[in-house]
Symmetry: C2
Subunit: 208 residues, 2 copies
DNA sequence: TAGATTGTTAATCGATTAACAATC
DNA sequence: TAGATTGTTAATCGATTAACAATC
């Protein structure tokens, strides 16, 4: 019943970039990093960086900036990236291969415990060390490995039925790489990643 | 010197979803589609859909909605998706394989004319029919094929130097899939696609 | 100390939403 | 016609930006 401070989505989107930059500073031995510097590197306004970093709860020192080590820990904690999360990936195609091989995800707690497909020639094989199972085994494997995230990389015509399987398997978070809006129960969260919308922005920018 | 109407980025981001849905309606034989229906399907407010569609210049008919065929043509025209664009892809890894194989891009005018890498065992091979060249051949091949877009899928430590090659090759639009901010001349447009920021949103949503 | 940088409080800006007359 | 849907004009909301005192 307390007025919950909902963290602003645009701020959350920027945090990973900050984290990346701050990590670089750490590896160069910096103890403090200023919002001014971060802003300059990322072409943002210093005040925006300060506002964003405020949501982590870390306070900076005037003249010096923010303590690098604490800030890294705080951002990671805020994003829950200091917590390992088991994920299944639905659809074992090219995109699944790209995502399972992407080191950034592993580094931020995402652990692939299985890939799922229907194609008989894929089942039993592995992609980047992740075993491919038949989609019918999803519920069993998801439970066995404690999967809490499902990543959807199936062709869009199978998006909804795959999502239904995911829901049936008891998974409450979906990262949807298809271009379909999914019909989901209220207690399932979903983040849609639409590559064509980024492409649209680029196309419009090109004509100016 | 006329006050240019800058199209709002959030609106542009939504257009591809509208287009997809309207195309479905077209394939089902609908002549008109209402903003109300689109809103319901995509869980948006009807007024937002109407505002967004207004940027295409198409006017709807009260009680019936928007003319499907005209609307499709207008959205595609607005996004310049009715215009073929030649693209090179830098880095011939898993993500490049996923992107070159993604039918949605081809369907919206994106034509891959070459992939570029430095790994000797990749050069000369093809991914989804796209030949892999050595990065040193970028300028030559880009000119030969009239490439206007470069897609960056290299490991992030090579992001900046790859971008420099792209700029040297005379390409003015970059779609950047690395997590690095690029230093670019003012006349080069860049759209960054950061998969970790979507992951960050999902992680925060899961903890609520 | 002097001055760069912080966090806070207020102002601005832009996007979303509401209200409603027009109309097919 | 009646009523659903449109486009316009105004209100609200939230994010970004500005101003500035506090401080190391």
């Amino acid at each position: 019943m307390t007025k919950q401070k909902i963290p602003a989505v645009p701020s959350i989107r920027r945090l990973p970039s900050y984290l990346h930059l701050i990590r670089q500073a750490e590896s160069e031995g910096c103890e403090f990093i200023s919002g001014t510097l971060i802003a300059k590197e990322l072409h943002l306004e210093p005040i925006q960086v300060r506002k964003d970093l405020a949501i982590t709860g870390i306070v900076g020192k005037p003249k010096r900036g923010y303590p690098v080590e604490q800030l890294i820990a705080a951002i990671e904690h805020f994003l829950d990236w200091d917590n390992k999360k088991n994920a299944v990936i639905i659809g074992a195609g090219n995109l699944a291969t790209a995502l399972t091989g992407y080191q950034q995800f592993k580094a931020h707690g995402l652990n692939f415990v299985g890939a799922f497909d229907t194609s008989p020639d894929k089942i039993g094989k592995q992609i980047h060390g992740v075993t491919i199972y038949h989609i019918d085994e999803l519920a069993e494997q998801a439970k066995k490995h404690g999967a809490t995230i499902a990543i959807l990389t199936v062709p869009s015509e199978f998006a909804q039925e795959s999502a239904d399987c995911v829901v049936k398997a008891g998974i409450k978070a979906i990262w949807n790489f298809t271009n379909r809006k999914l019909k989901l129960p209220d207690d399932v969260v979903c983040q849609r990643e639409d590559l064509t919308s980024g492409y649209a922005i680029l196309c419009v920018m090109m004509n100016e």
